[in-house]
Symmetry: C3
């Protein structure tokens, strides 16, 4: 079985920092298959990292180890977490990164079994000299290699119920209206909202109305090219969530919208 390890950080792609993590992993697991999930998380933005992780992990096979290092508290008192959720392993600082993956995929798919989360106390897998500023290389990469190599997650430390989570930005429904918000702006300027496509499943999608920043979008499209270039549209995107976009342009720029922008969905009666 392939030992897939993905890496996500806010290090960008210019430095050698991601590659140093890979060097440490390959030193311990020479047959690991390394995949950059992204090094473009906005610096220190744990919430965006949590969203990106939860939306991308399901594309990977079970058994994959996901390392996520967006870690403004590196070297301080924050704990180190390892988790197993939805069949995938995770290592990350205890700062909210695992909020979404640890909750059983409620936003992004069918409810899954509760995650196993442990606070890592066994430091034997760490590099011999742990720096205080680069735990990606010295702590998280070696832990990922250990998990990929078959180390039992429970051997790393005690299970914990209490760990850092941010309050989930869940949509709330009020009669025929869903009050949601934008969770994530992707690099195309598409706005990914917290409104799940499943909330619209039994409805006539052509009669759904989306209100955002004063604009009104009538009906859900299937694809960008359902509208001419430059026109606003909404659709259920590849993460299973309602998205707002402008065909071939940036909805974020057009609307002046960003993470947290309110999105209201007006539902027709069930069809």
């Amino acid at each position: 079985m392939a030992k897939i390890i993905t890496l996500m950080t806010d290090f960008g792609v210019k430095s050698t920092y991601p590659s140093q993590m890979k060097g440490v992993i390959l030193d311990r697991q020479p047959d690991a298959v390394l995949v950059d999930m992204s090094h473009g998380v906005p610096p220190h933005d744990v919430r965006t990292a949590a969203f990106m992780l939860a939306s991308a992990a399901p594309a990977f096979p079970e058994g994959t180890v996901h390392v996520t290092v967006v870690d403004p508290g590196v070297g301080g008192t924050r704990r180190v977490l390892a988790a197993k959720a939805d069949g995938r392993f995770h290592v990350a600082p205890d700062n909210g990164t695992l909020t979404l993956v640890a909750q059983g995929q409620r936003l992004f798919g069918p409810d899954a079994a509760p995650a196993t989360v442990v606070a890592v106390e066994d430091e034997t897998h760490y590099r011999r000299d742990v720096s205080s500023t680069f735990h990606g290389r010295d702590v998280f990469a070696p832990l990922a290699a250990a998990l990929a190599g078959g180390v039992d997650i429970d051997s790393l430390g005690p299970r914990v119920e209490a760990f850092q989570r941010f309050s989930l930005p869940l949509p709330h429904r009020d009669g025929g209206t869903i009050h949601g918000q934008a969770l994530y702006v992707d690099p195309f300027g598409n706005l990914v909202t917290n409104v799940s496509g499943r909330m619209l499943e039994a409805l006539d999608r052509s009669r759904v109305e989306i209100h955002i920043c004063g604009a009104v979008i009538r009906g859900l499209c299937r694809a960008y090219c359902d509208v001419p270039p430059g026109i606003l549209l909404a659709y259920v995107g590849s993460a299973g969530l309602v998205e707002v976009a402008v065909n071939q342009q940036s909805a974020a720029v057009r609307l002046g919208a960003g993470r947290g922008t309110a999105v209201t969905v007006h539902l027709p009666p069930a069809s």
Copy 2:
């Protein structure tokens, strides 16, 4: 034999989209060797993707599978193509991406055998739930995995002669003058033209003259460092095409040139 799969998209390197394609491939072909060809195609720019693909594919061994997803028509009526050209496999939307690789390498090397192009109709390899906005993950990545795994290209659909191609920007020769144009601006600002080095083979290269944006370059150099930093030069570049550059600076900026800029080559008599 290594199952090499390259990925080229206009997704950029900030999102998790390229990695989601990789997760899907590794789920189906755990021993695939994944190479990012580039995720920096200018958004929706199919012509640049076609050039980048045709210039880079020859560096890979025969049998490599190249996935190219620059796909503004995703989810619409455009077809899905698979091709075999010059010993390499390709999957891409039917939007012009395969124009250059499918024509037998006329611009970039010796004429090759005609390409095999099929319109994919067999959807059994696709992911179970195909989104309407992310065929890179749900359609093209699984097809690439199938081809890398040895699936016969002809099993995917009927061969087609008619598919989207843009008209080739071929140079034309008028006596001792070649009228060409810039095909591609690389990230250094070097201008890659459509004038093949083979058109200059029998000539005294020191007497070739290149006219572009009012500037005149006398003689072809071999290397950037044949001229001082900041000076314009021309040479036959690594894709076998005449290029115009400024040593250690950007020719595109210096000249105000870009894709489509006219380039005239004045030839001396054959030597």
Copy 3:
């Protein structure tokens, strides 16, 4: 044993140039494990490449082959070097790139054995048609594949003592003061200096004082989060060198500092 080959260039991540190097390597060593060390070296900046290489190579296992191509003199008279240093192999143009790795790790770790450096004369490993502008693909990638495949470095050419090195920016100590400078600005804007943490080993770190651009930092921290966001700090970083940073912001921007900026460290008496 894994045949790890890392690639570092100034090509950026938008072009297909790094991938063309990988295609050539995989054609010759299908089981090579390829790692992008960085393609974000500032264009033509050999000194930064030398620093990045020397700071990242120790994270990789012995036997790794590191290819570094920042090569403004490509196609000219500069030689091609191969080296073995600290158990790792290197290929690079003879332009100063190997200055730091070839000197036995004096800046970054315990003194190591002298490096073996050869001037490559055996061109049998090169690609058949070597372009004059892309030796990364045509010369350095094939050499890396050859070394990863077990070719003896001494078979490539004669050992050389004289090769291009820039003068090392070593700190000098004057009584209780170390006069140093910034070697590298990382993508976070952190300033990595040439003052080794080992120079401060026996001292009371809370009483060390760092002067830079008119600012005074009193005491070395352990981690960014030892100070509030937006506050200047200094610490011994992950390369074993003193660094100056601003928690969650850019010290380079805050101070107007860059490579070469003077940094003075005032030492307390040995504790």
